[in-house]
Every structure is written in C-alpha cells, then in structure tokens.
C-alpha cells in the first residue's frame, strides 16, 4: 500500500514483460523473465502479501530461471519472433 513505489514498479513490470516476449533470443527471454519475476515479488511485498512474495522470491530467483536456462541449453536458442 505504498503507492509511489507501487506505480513505478508496475510500470517496470509492464516493460520487462513486453521485453521478455519481444526479445529475439530465447536465452535473453529467459533472463528477462527472471527480471519480471523479481519485480513481481516486489509488487507482492508492497501490497503486503509477505508469504506470496517469499514464494515468488524463492521460486523466481532460485528455480524457474534455472529451468528455463536448462531447457534452452537442451534445445536451441534460435527463435524467429
């Protein structure tokens, strides 16, 4: 419930979300998805949902980016769009 920070972070979330699907490189997309998840965690913390923020922090920082990188490592980085 801290609206100035909230507004800025929301803007950044939109930017990183658009970036994650627009980048023409799957590894870059995975990395940007990591940023998206960091910012989402901050957003939950600002709204006071501590447990959700904790889950998102551990999941986003620890696991999901690694899964994406592992999958890209096992397939290919190439994408047409």
């Amino acid at each position: 419930m801290i609206w100035p920070v909230d507004l800025i972070i929301m803007l950044l979330v939109m930017v990183s979300g658009i970036g994650a699907i627009m980048v023409r490189d799957l590894l870059g997309a995975a990395v940007l998805f990591g940023v998206y998840s960091f910012l989402m965690c901050l957003l939950y913390a600002i709204m006071g949902a501590v447990d959700v923020a904790f889950t998102e922090a551990s999941v986003g920082a620890g696991v999901s980016s690694v899964f994406f990188v592992a999958a890209v490592f096992r397939t290919s980085r190439r994408t047409k769009d």
């Binding site: 904790f54 922090a57 290919s76 190439r78």
Partner: protein, 95 residues
C-alpha cells in the same frame, strides 16, 4: 524517518528502471545478465526498505535473506551455458 525511507525506496525504484534499460536493450545476452544482477542487488535493499515502511522489518528480512543467497543462481546457470556452448551469436538469427 518514514518519509526518508519512502523517498529512498522511490529513488531505488527509479534506479531499477535505469538498470532495466540495460537488460531490455542490452546488445548481448551477457549485458542483460549484468542488468539482472544489478536489479537483484537493488531488490534486496528495497525489500528491507519496504519492511521499514510497514514497521515490520523482522518479517521482511527473511525474504531479503532468501533473495541475497539465491539471487546468483540464475547468473551462474546462464554463465554456465556460455561455458558449455561457446559462441555468442552463432545460434541467433538476424545479427
């Protein structure tokens, strides 16, 4: 003090925007990783500042601790990708 913490967190959020520029428009993937690293380090501080604004720091400090320890796993994984598959551009089209 509350106002100081509020201004500090707003300032940090703006700085995150600057780092986000590097990670969205960075010419190579490694520049993006630098941006992610910078954003992660700012996030740790920002979480504790939010805790101070809520006046419940003892609850938020756990999240920040988890963040500080796990923040670099993604960086390690991405750098391990480059150590195994050499070459920065050869797989990516259009460069």
């Amino acid at each position: 003090m509350q106002a100081i913490f509020l201004y500090a967190s707003v300032f940090l959020a703006c700085l995150m925007g600057l780092s986000l520029y590097r990670s969205v428009f960075g010419p190579t993937v490694l520049d993006r990783i630098i941006g992610v690293n910078a954003i992660g380090s700012k996030t740790t501080t920002l979480l504790i500042l939010i805790g101070l604004i809520y006046e419940r720091v003892d609850m938020f400090v756990d999240i920040a601790l988890a963040y500080a320890t796990l923040n670099f796993i993604a960086v390690l994984a991405a750098s391990r990708y480059f150590q195994k598959k050499k070459g920065l551009f050869d797989e990516v089209e259009g460069r």
